[in-house]
Symmetry: D3
Subunit: 328 residues, 6 copies
Amino acid sequence: MYDIVTLGEAMLRFTPPDYQRLEQATSFEVNVSGSELNTSWGTARLGLHTTWVSRLVDNPMGRMIASKAREMGVDASHVQWTPKGRVGLYYCEMGASTRASRVYYDRKGSATSQMKPGTVDWAAILDGARVFHVSGITPALSADCRVVTEEAIRAAKLAGCLVSFDMNYRSRLWSPTEARDCIEALLPRVDILLTTSDDTSIVFGVEGEPADIAGKFVDEYGLKVAVLTIREAPSVLRGKWSSVAVTDDGQIYASHAKIDLELIDRVGSGDAYDAGFLYGFLTGDVPKAVRYGDAMSAIKHSVPGDHSWITLEEVEAHVEGLRTKIVR
Amino acid sequence: MYDIVTLGEAMLRFTPPDYQRLEQATSFEVNVSGSELNTSWGTARLGLHTTWVSRLVDNPMGRMIASKAREMGVDASHVQWTPKGRVGLYYCEMGASTRASRVYYDRKGSATSQMKPGTVDWAAILDGARVFHVSGITPALSADCRVVTEEAIRAAKLAGCLVSFDMNYRSRLWSPTEARDCIEALLPRVDILLTTSDDTSIVFGVEGEPADIAGKFVDEYGLKVAVLTIREAPSVLRGKWSSVAVTDDGQIYASHAKIDLELIDRVGSGDAYDAGFLYGFLTGDVPKAVRYGDAMSAIKHSVPGDHSWITLEEVEAHVEGLRTKIVR
Amino acid sequence: MYDIVTLGEAMLRFTPPDYQRLEQATSFEVNVSGSELNTSWGTARLGLHTTWVSRLVDNPMGRMIASKAREMGVDASHVQWTPKGRVGLYYCEMGASTRASRVYYDRKGSATSQMKPGTVDWAAILDGARVFHVSGITPALSADCRVVTEEAIRAAKLAGCLVSFDMNYRSRLWSPTEARDCIEALLPRVDILLTTSDDTSIVFGVEGEPADIAGKFVDEYGLKVAVLTIREAPSVLRGKWSSVAVTDDGQIYASHAKIDLELIDRVGSGDAYDAGFLYGFLTGDVPKAVRYGDAMSAIKHSVPGDHSWITLEEVEAHVEGLRTKIVR
Amino acid sequence: MYDIVTLGEAMLRFTPPDYQRLEQATSFEVNVSGSELNTSWGTARLGLHTTWVSRLVDNPMGRMIASKAREMGVDASHVQWTPKGRVGLYYCEMGASTRASRVYYDRKGSATSQMKPGTVDWAAILDGARVFHVSGITPALSADCRVVTEEAIRAAKLAGCLVSFDMNYRSRLWSPTEARDCIEALLPRVDILLTTSDDTSIVFGVEGEPADIAGKFVDEYGLKVAVLTIREAPSVLRGKWSSVAVTDDGQIYASHAKIDLELIDRVGSGDAYDAGFLYGFLTGDVPKAVRYGDAMSAIKHSVPGDHSWITLEEVEAHVEGLRTKIVR
Amino acid sequence: MYDIVTLGEAMLRFTPPDYQRLEQATSFEVNVSGSELNTSWGTARLGLHTTWVSRLVDNPMGRMIASKAREMGVDASHVQWTPKGRVGLYYCEMGASTRASRVYYDRKGSATSQMKPGTVDWAAILDGARVFHVSGITPALSADCRVVTEEAIRAAKLAGCLVSFDMNYRSRLWSPTEARDCIEALLPRVDILLTTSDDTSIVFGVEGEPADIAGKFVDEYGLKVAVLTIREAPSVLRGKWSSVAVTDDGQIYASHAKIDLELIDRVGSGDAYDAGFLYGFLTGDVPKAVRYGDAMSAIKHSVPGDHSWITLEEVEAHVEGLRTKIVR
Amino acid sequence: MYDIVTLGEAMLRFTPPDYQRLEQATSFEVNVSGSELNTSWGTARLGLHTTWVSRLVDNPMGRMIASKAREMGVDASHVQWTPKGRVGLYYCEMGASTRASRVYYDRKGSATSQMKPGTVDWAAILDGARVFHVSGITPALSADCRVVTEEAIRAAKLAGCLVSFDMNYRSRLWSPTEARDCIEALLPRVDILLTTSDDTSIVFGVEGEPADIAGKFVDEYGLKVAVLTIREAPSVLRGKWSSVAVTDDGQIYASHAKIDLELIDRVGSGDAYDAGFLYGFLTGDVPKAVRYGDAMSAIKHSVPGDHSWITLEEVEAHVEGLRTKIVR
């Protein structure tokens, strides 16, 4: 029995070292990256039992992804394997002011995007699970993936499991209208919505203060809680992070303060937030969820690659107060 | 006016360092790689004027390929650019006995494979050219690419230009039967055929001594010259190289001796042979072509990546005699 | 229920890159290394269900070891965690003729060496298991570790589980006499002995042809099978590998031929043999075990680090015939 | 026919990685670097047709320089080749507060510094060209180079081509007095002067507000336009960039605002400004030139090495507004 | 005759590159690190004659430490060599906000910690020396090391040599009470005390303004001078540095201003301060000592590794004024 | 008092990694390299007291050279320092069959080549020394260096010190005739000549069996001993090493057997031989010298860079018998 079940694609991520531009690189750092896998990693590191459902090619690149899932403590036994096809990938260029970081996807036709409806035994996997988590990327991968996502969410509700959804809009995968059509159909079964004001603005045309936006979604779709994460970027290499959650009883829980960040690698920090939030939520309450989400995301910004190489002890120390001096 | 015009795809090549397996790598070396581009590089290094015709995405990965073409002195002004699509790629694992080196392609749907017939002004490009060179990979990329290849070859004959063809059978792209059907249709317009006994066996079912095989093809298809390159692999990291050419007057020109090789990177060595052969042929005769092809290929085995970072002076010194001691 | 249960220490291994000497290095490659963990890795890669029992410090270095165990598919849920202590390590210098490779251990006082008798629930772990495997390194770590090893072996016999033992004599840990005293006490409960003529000579003073040595041990200690692996080193970077197994019915099963090797990293190749042998034994018979052991070991020599990044498909292809040319 | 013709030296640049000091380095990153070549690169990337005139040794180091020129799209067909001599080089140490970055030149006696007057067919090269660009480094290399520079400028005026001059004072090459004598003789033929208040102060003893200094030079020497780039360095790794241009009709065009920079590599940013300015000037007017110069320079600060790996699309986006968040 | 004699342990330091966490690293940068050796290095670079007394294993790791001592100009002829034992080490993780840098020691049982009283001929080594310097780490290593430290200090007083002591409290080595007991016994023989308000607070329970704290120690223990270095950490990667010295005549000498730092590697910066202070003190007076200490420490923060790769000329330039622009 | 005094130039050596060609490199490994310094290093490692006399620029590159001298235990206190000038360097390309390794020098005008006669107090340095060693490179650097070499040799004879001379002919520095003129003048004062049949053939036109050549030189110039080292290169990466010494009493001492080598880096192996030979000679006799020279050279071939990171214990083990298996 899993605490958390996730569904999604993971890709290889290729990053030139030392702030090189992609065009000039002679080597790429290789990471495994994928929104829901990132969230599974984070929760596994914090001590929850989690499985990640996906579809991979049985070649070295597919096996690398499954190995990395296991390395972080994520169960990969429900991954579907296919002898043919390709592993999706993306190129990630790290910037510095005044050049923003940039991502180029090459994920079309990946094995995950070709998952077929009806091929996952969701009832078995979700039996006894506490949370099913997926992001808006998965239904955007293909028409079939949208159906698989819907199957999973329906099964989760049947299993009495909470549904957590991170909107994660990706403009290269679908249009705002397509995204809205799909997500509107999913939200009535969602309990926990995690998103940003950028995404709610683009996809739903909703603008305003974060707490107001979150409140609107709670009301409109009958959510248990909606969370907006707020990222400010005073420069490419510096950031400020905070978040606000609104619950179905109208309570607003916000970060105590914006956290100042020195960005080593911001990719996956939203997914790390989700992991921290879900951990805090399952082991405490929404205020704890906000604090643990903030801590996970803040620390993640300092870690190269998508993995949340973070311990529960570190998150708890972070919640208690920031340290900037060396710890011996 | 070009000495040599080539047509083909180039990909990014990802290679783990230090004989790592793909699954364990945390970084990949990045090279640009493509059979016909390799041959263009080699001939450009030797002093010929060469252009490479292809189709690339206008993103950093596509631009990297064009930049590398130019870096080696290849004209890239006839490359077609497309705003969308993907750059093909492959993963290349370097082995050591008893683990053979291995290549995994991920090239499906590349921009080059989507070249459209009728979009290249072959008459203009080939006007005054001396050789048009293409390998069996290009027509295997897609039905359209097969037509583009045929267009190019026909235009070459019209332009009074020699046609050079390297069979380069790729089992991941097509079946032996498909390959044979296509290549048989091309060969009557080919002047120079470059291949191996492995490929002639698989595709044409022709077996025998290299010189006999070459002779058969010369006779059967009215070639000016057919060349078989002969690679022995006593171990993964050691090799022996030689070649034999048979001309339409039945003359056989073989390497004086097998060349002992210490393999640093054997990818692209066949293409380097083609470059050396064509250079020798255009500036001399078939015997010179064989010697220059052998030298280019032998040296290429010692150079990391696909590029033939070799000078004419080095090829000429190699033809005169091998050196193994340090040169100060 | 596990197919294979192992017990032992894993360490960090520090290796200077590019054949540098330790003294001149400015960086070390970091690997996780440990004889029994290596064997667990190998069997997990081949598809068996395996757990590795050990004791680690709950710091980043200890967690790295557990993560790597999981990455390769090894269950690490029976690892004991301690807040204090140290992770053992060793320095590994890669040589070339005429400088042999060399290992310097710094493992004294490691958390694993401080495992306490009676702290592992062997009955539960071994319930239903098919093989318990340990090497001579584990009992050599400390007096307590010797007792833990004995406990495990006794429990294995009680559980009806085969006991596999690799002699693996380490002169830095104990003297030949100490080793002999301990191992002689263990062997009567051992079913499968894996060793080398070097080790049997040093520890037991037994000399002779490999098959004779193996036969003597089978007879003397009532083993089911004894295996000698035979390593020749014509130079530091080249090797020849073979093995011979003798069964309790006096049958001798030897490698068909010595396998020529180009050594990238020979550390862990004996452990990889054990993995292949156990897999072949459990899924077939002794002849299969010898062939799969040889294949695993031979391929491992070409892989940097201790991990057997090898697939069952590759082992089977290797058993059918060696390839030295590139596979596309 | 070229849009832009430049004349100058390019060197190898050796940089220790990761902010190491030169003394402690065990490896150097290798780049090709040279003020006028940098400017040619930048303009080629933006779509102009440009050639770089220089003199190189026909050895691997000289060929590397020519290859890199071509890679970025710069014509290198007018480079003079010499079998003997040396390629100039410099060592570049990257600092962080409170240690400034530092450059050590070793360029004396380079092939370029030994260019001979009368050996370049300037009339042919400049025929139809729109701009000839050179910096104060070139005439400082040697007495002969000063004559070659004068020949080029005179030929440019005859060809009806604009002359662009970046003062680029280098204290290791000549004294302020020597520089002033030479530059004063050149300026009457210059149309576009690019410089800094540091250089005008040291060489000409002119102090004051940037716009005033620029105005003085326009008036004194009859320039079409004089540009001062303004670099502030609040710390070693952070900077602010702006510029101001004054035209012969007394108009002042300044940056809208100082651009905040996170410095990855500031070497070559002045040359990138020149490229952006010249592009903007040739395709628009002085205000466009200032904005494009600012954008090119600002982005260049974030790119390792001297090459301006920047696209026109990026410059145009930068002109429209800065982005600090990741672009997917 | 030495200007400065130091006593202490040096370790290998393992640091993952590029802000990686220890758990995710596949390689470590290797440095030699040790408080008193760092101080010896710094003074040797500034031109003083210095020897470092220690005990090392005669293996590659021990020899590496001695080689690095010599490389920086430190005499290593009084190092004791032992054939057995281990070299201490630590793992150092570089952070970025909001993750602090962190150190994990693995130094227990090192050869240095096993130095024996009575084995160093202090009278000979200290004969004519001007300063004996040791930190609070050395007596904390073991009971024997505490005795050796006492022997050295006593011998220093006999030799008429100044005693310099950096409190350097290490919580992993001893408790505050143990530290206080030991240090209180040493201080009456100390002339120069270097410490921080953190350490005086933890070990002695003394709080207050730095100058007040320093004054208290001068008064209490009859010191010639007490120095407090003051480190502020507005973020993990940025810092501010200053210091204040109080002399036995009650004079207070403080930094002119806090120095803003961009931290590349802050490990060893306190030791570099000590080196600069001692140099300034021996070649001038306390005000010079403060300024040279500040400069050494500030520059050290920008240098990777523990070595003070700094020249006297650079320190003097730093004292005269900071530079942030590139120096050509 | 030194055991061995050497005189010569040291340079920076730049080597592309991983068998890359110089033209394709994006980084160079940096080593310090110089024939006589190499020999000093080797003898220092073996326990002799040695100083290296040279002239260096007081910049980071010059200081790096002196630091590396000290690191290996060589006294650098007699190095002359100059504020201006350049450090010589060379580019070194590592090959594999059929591409030989290659060296490109850029040493002209180095600080060492500008040493002035009469500036070294040879009488003081050589007082009590046992051997003065220099190679044919030093007098070839400049006319002044030739005089300095002569001064040193004359002073050595006056001091009663043996003179050791390695012919080391460098065709880029002088012609065979120039070399012969100079060396013939030096040889009458030489006691120990070390050379190769290549050099004796080119410079002196002497051909024949190594022992015959050595004998001729002993007779002709009244040497105590002449040594010919014999290098065979069956391929670029494999070698065979042996040597033969002939003494003034006509005895011939040859290697017992040719040593098979796997070449990691052969640069400096001749200098390592000299070090081993001199050590064996000073601590034993000519047969010991030959064996220790062979061992030092053979091991050096396996070590990257020019430094002889070798211990006396290793040399002695090598003399007793080769090992190819891993040592634990």
